[in-house]
Amino acid sequence: MNDMRYEAPDTVDGAVALLAGASGEARLLAGGTDLLVQLRAEMIAPALVVDLKRIPELQSIAAEDGGFRVGAAVSGAELGEHPGVKALWPGVVEATELIGSTQIQGRASLGGNLCNASPAADSVPAMIAAGAIARVAGSGGTREVAVEEIATGPGQTSLAKDEIVVSILLPARPPGSSDAYLRFIPRTEMDIAVVGAGVSLTLDAGGVCSAARVSLGAVAARALLVPEAAEALIGSKLDAAALARLDAAASAACRPIDDKRGTKEYRIQVAGVLARRAALIAAERAGRN
């Protein structure tokens, strides 16, 4: 076997330094629910594994300007137990809680789900719909990046070799706002999304949609932000016609593949259905805010 080195720095700078100095392949360990599977299946053989869970900034959830900053290594279970985040961004929380089983929830993280860059990652469309901002640290300092800019393709990210996602900002939002995420899987649990749809929207006092973001997962090489789908909702009361436009716009945006989990035509058709259903759930939640 190759000698794999394990390091568990307790500062972001320490982690960045390890990555910058790494010779050979280096991997980050947040929840490890993807990394350990890839290791055991011998899909990867990194020379260095950097465990991020001992870095306080990656393990904390903090209120920030009316929103929340979530550490990249915070587990889904911890996020789900945070009443504040759950109230403000229920769609992001429900998406994160859909990642795997209760056991996986004990480990899997937003940062890991984002950086593993699977097109089918459940939390990513929800975060994109939420307009979440990732804080990225590297040797050159810190930068703020829209989450949709992190993944560039299956397993590929825009992060430099020495960069890590430290935290994700779920921003503040006006009254009458909420979000929702739905995915389709063949079973009720334990599957990878065949299609995922995240919708975030704001309703004015009259119940008219004044702002919306719609994102789709598992229908392209990476999660998509679909402005045309959002356009279909803005200005409407989510009447049947608006929902039909949303459905059509979502389906039109899909560029899926056929694989063991679903066919192109299936993904295209169901993407519209889920976008429509998610929009109604988000609107119902928004009505209560």
Binding site: M1, Y6, G32, T33, L36, R40, T102, Q103
Partner: protein
């Protein structure tokens, strides 16, 4: 090969062991410590047979590295009964015939205990979704769910 020295707490006991960086908690429990109650069904987090508590949180031991354990606490099926006294879940699993081959049983018991510690009065649906990560091929889950609900009722009563 460079082995790592790890000091941790397992089932309340201070434990030290050496492991390869790529060894999982499950490898350590079974191959180093011979705590074989945690079973290896898939090594990919899909079957739940290796369910353990890590700092009180339910996880798959196959998805945790042994080297991560320094300073953490692990609880396995071996710690569920106290002396001669079975945990109510263990007794109810026997009473309800909630196991056939029994290989998934330790993982399901650990997971069910984590549920009841968090939610003493779960609905049938809550039990089913909480245990969705614990595959059982023998029972069809019926008697497992009944045993968990019955144990919960008993524990609330006592």
């Amino acid at each position: 090969m460079a082995k790592n020295h790890v000091t941790t707490t397992i089932n309340g006991d201070a434990v030290e062991f050496l492991c390869e960086p790529e060894d999982t908690l499950l490898d350590v429990l079974r191959d180093e410590l011979h705590l074989t109650g945690s079973k290896e069904g898939c090594s990919s987090g899909d079957c739940g047979a290796c369910s353990v508590l890590l700092d009180g949180r339910l996880v798959c031991a196959c998805l945790v590295l042994g080297v991560e354990l320094t300073g953490h606490e692990v609880e396995t099926i071996e710690a569920m009964a106290h002396g001669e006294v079975l945990h109510p879940l263990q007794s109810k699993f026997i009473e309800h015939a909630a196991l056939q081959c029994g290989v998934c049983t330790p993982g399901i018991l650990v997971a069910a205990k984590a549920l009841l510690d968090k939610n003493p009065d779960p609905s049938e649906t809550e039990v089913r979704y909480w245990l969705a990560g614990n595959l059982c091929r023998c029972t069809g889950y019926d008697k497992i769910v009944r045993a968990v609900l019955d144990a919960a009722a008993d524990m609330r009563g006592s």
